[in-house]
């Protein structure tokens, strides 16, 4: 199957757009993990006192 040359720039743009959105969601995911780690750390620190 041959790809229509007219569609190539559209595919590149789609890749940039969805790739960008994916990267942003990845950033949110990383931040969520960081917060979760901090929370677990805090709970572990507080456990001996309780």
């Amino acid at each position: 199957m041959k790809l229509d040359p007219k569609i190539v720039p559209v595919l590149i743009v789609a890749l940039i757009t969805w790739g960008g959105i994916f990267l942003y969601l990845l950033r949110v995911e990383m931040l969520t993990r960081k917060v979760q780690k901090e929370l677990e750390q805090k709970l572990n620190d507080e456990e001996p006192r309780a």
Binding site: T17, I21, L25, V28
Partner: protein
Amino acid sequence: MMIFNAVIAIWVTAAMTLGFFMPQAKGLLASNIMYFHVPMAISMEIAFLLAAWHGFRYLKTRRMEHDAQSVSFAEVGTFFGVIATITGALWAKINWGAYWNWDPQQIGIVATLLTYFALFALRGAMEDDEKMRSAWAVYAIFGIVAAVFWTGIFRVLPQMRSLHPTGVLVESSRIFKVALWTNVAGFAMIMIKAALMRGRVQVAQEKLKEAAQ
């Protein structure tokens, strides 16, 4: 929340399918790029508007959640703006022969993004949290004023000659307009969802920070 997620997923899939199979807009090459570039640019404006709204709400209520949401919308808006600039440059190369043409709208979006980069830098430079949040609220309101000027007013100044097509929305077929606005709504929903998620993480971070003090 699950319903909103499902609506976004179905809507965006339908919008993308529509976008890929739509006929070309009148007088433009690779006009299907508009189904990505235009929604990203409009979503950027909506994000900056919502950032300003939450900034205003913060000044009224002093609730940290509004500050977190304001920053999140500004951040997502900036990210979407960068994508709109890159995809716009690719479209410009195909239609106008160069990635950068000193078009007032190209200058406008880059100036808007630079404004927000500066505002983020100013926020990051402040140490006192209360002062930082109050200042940010004002920055967010200033930001939307700058965005409206750079992307809305600057290009229609009498000295400016924009290469951007003006009659596409009026002259193109109804099906093209439907596909375009379906995509605008889809990407705007993704933007709102991403900003709300980012905002919640920001709130959790702030609360942890407060608890540690």
